[in-house]
């Protein structure tokens, strides 16, 4: 019975050429909006200033979202019109702005005020696998900071889980490329934004100081939750 209705549906879609257009028009294009921070702008001080948090969230992240929505709308139109050249042209805007939205949404959850557990070392299985893979938490942090400091230009440094190889990895991505662009089986546990806008007003050119201090507000609880879920 199910097969027959499927076959009927398929035939209908094939014969009624307009059908697919009508379907996608009625399916509303999802727009994205700025997620709220789970803490006040000033709550991460002195590690990250309130001024930076506000600009970072309300201006930078919001701009990525605005431009992402715009690009998606243009993509939607181009697909409907069969305008392949516009479709191709939009890919970089989607990667930049969509990536910016993805990465920053993760970042806000990677941070927490000290009184809410920010900076507390990971316990449970993540803590254990860090010690196994890197020797110690200090060693992991040193590695991540070295990679983050060495990154030329703008980008992110990540602690990720390779789901296929079942191990932790440290990776960097350029600009707003999400971690998955480095490997389809990579899941981000922690990301640190090393674009200058993430630290400049406070740390100026001294990115290593920003990297040293941010660990005081890193939310290992979130990273542990993701790790447990993805390694199950």
């Amino acid at each position: 019975m199910a097969l027959r209705s499927l076959a009927l549906a398929t035939r209908k879609t094939l014969t009624l050429g307009l059908n697919s257009t009508r379907l996608s028009q009625s399916r509303a294009l999802q727009t994205f909006s700025l997620p709220d921070l789970p803490y006040d702008y000033g709550a991460l001080e002195p590690a990250i200033s309130g001024e930076i948090m506000q600009l970072h969230h309300q201006k930078h992240h919001q701009t990525y979202i605005t431009n992402y929505n715009k690009a998606l709308e243009q993509l939607h139109d181009a697909i409907q019109k069969g305008d392949s050249s516009t479709v191709a042209k939009l890919q970089s805007a989607i990667k930049f702005n969509g990536g910016g939205h993805i990465n920053h949404s993760i970042f806000w959850q990677n941070l927490a005020p000290i009184r809410e557990g920010g900076g507390e070392p990971p316990k449970g299985s993540l803590g254990w696998v860090i010690d196994t893979n890197f020797g110690s938490l200090e060693s992991l942090i040193q590695n991540i900071n070295a990679e983050g400091a060495a990154l030329q230009g703008s980008g992110w440094v990540w602690l990720g889980l390779d789901k296929e190889l079942k191990k932790l990895v440290i990776e960097t991505t350029a600009n707003q490329d999400p971690l998955v662009t480095k490997g389809p089986h990579l899941v981000p546990l922690l990301g640190i934004d090393v674009w200058e806008h993430a630290y400049y007003l406070q740390y100026k050119n001294v990115r290593p100081d920003y990297l040293k201090n941010i660990w005081k507000v890193i939310n290992w609880k979130y990273a542990s939750e993701v790790y447990e879920k993805e390694s199950a």
Binding site: L55, K59, H60, T63, S92, F96, Q152, G153, S154, G155, A174, N175, Q176, W195, E196, H197, Y200, L201, K204, N205
Partner: protein, 308 residues
């Protein structure tokens, strides 16, 4: 590295292989003379590049670009590139080369070598400070304005395109006005009838440390769009920074001077290539067979599959 240096003076680039653009520039800076070399008391050669100050005091661009920005941008960022470059090239084959030579060699046709970032950023920032002046902005005049109007339609269209390039360089990088005097855009193509129209002004943007020297263009003007260039004064408002730069800081004098130099160098290079071509045509060597094969590929083909 020694092999690369010898490429710079090689006369083996004959007419058909003109497409090989890189170290054949007959640019004064590209000649492999030792530059900035000092010998200390023990007669050991050490090459050091200096951090040149901007051609104006650090507060001279206020209120448009703050003294604080210059203090960090020149005093920390630019200084660090220079210091790290010096440390990086000590005892290597790059020591003793001019900065522009290091950039081309370390760019390595895109397969970037470690010294590239520091060398290119040191050069880019020198070029940037000199692209600005107190009381700058306004419009260019003379040949420069003529060329801008020829190649962009109008000064307004040029400004629009330059701003757009600067605003859409995603992540860190630079936007440039450059003079493009090389023959065609494709590396292995030969332009059978070069003309003055091949020489044109172009606007390009580049990521991180890359600059138009690596594409064999002559840079004329640049704006730094790394966030450190504008964050203290404008925070995330890059567009406002770009407007300020165009309206208040651009040194058209500097751009003019660079254009004149570029035109002269392009002319010199053309003469050099003509001379080399004439030499080759008269040379009675076994190489002639290879040359004929090369010429055949471009000039006379029995194979009509390439024809329309």
């Amino acid at each position: 590295m020694a092999a690369s240096t010898s490429m710079l003076t090689s006369s083996s680039f004959t007419f058909p292989s003109q497409g090989l653009r890189l170290p054949t520039r007959t640019h004064p800076c590209m000649k492999p003379q030792k530059r900035f070399v000092r010998k200390d008391a023990s007669n050991v050669i050490t090459a050091t590049y200096d951090l040149k100050p901007p051609p104006y005091p650090l507060n001279a661009l206020e209120p448009h670009m703050s003294r604080e920005t210059l203090e960090y941008h020149w005093g920390k960022h630019h200084r660090t590139y220079v210091e790290n470059l010096n440390k990086q090239i000590v005892g290597t084959d790059l020591e003793g080369l001019s900065l522009e030579d290091i950039i081309i060699v370390a760019y390595n046709k895109g397969d970037i070598l470690p010294a590239f970032n520091n060398a290119a950023q040191a050069w880019n920032h020198d070029f940037f400070w000199e692209s600005m002046k107190p009381g700058g902005g306004g419009k260019p005049s003379g040949d420069l304005l003529d060329l801008i109007e020829r190649d962009f339609g109008s000064f307004e269209r040029f400004t629009e395109e330059f701003r757009s390039a600067a605003a859409t360089q995603f992540g860190s990088g630079w936007a440039w006005l450059a003079y493009k005097a090389n023959r065609l855009g494709v590396e292995n193509a030969v332009n059978p009838w070069p003309s003055e129209n091949d020489k044109k002004l172009v606007i390009v943007k580049s990521p991180n440390a890359v600059n138009p020297l690596v594409w064999d263009y002559f840079p004329l003007l640049t704006i730094d769009v790394w966030e450190h260039a504008y964050y203290l004064d404008f925070q995330n408002q890059r567009a406002d920074y770009i407007s300020m730069f165009m309206e208040k800081l651009v040194s058209w004098e500097a751009v003019n001077a660079r254009l004149e130099k570029a035109k002269a160098e392009a002319a010199e290079r053309e003469m050099e290539e003509e001379r080399r071509k004439n030499e080759e045509e008269w040379k009675p060597t076994d190489d002639d067979d290879d040359d004929d094969e090369g010429l055949e590929m471009y000039v006379d083909s029995e194979d009509d599959s390439e024809a329309e």
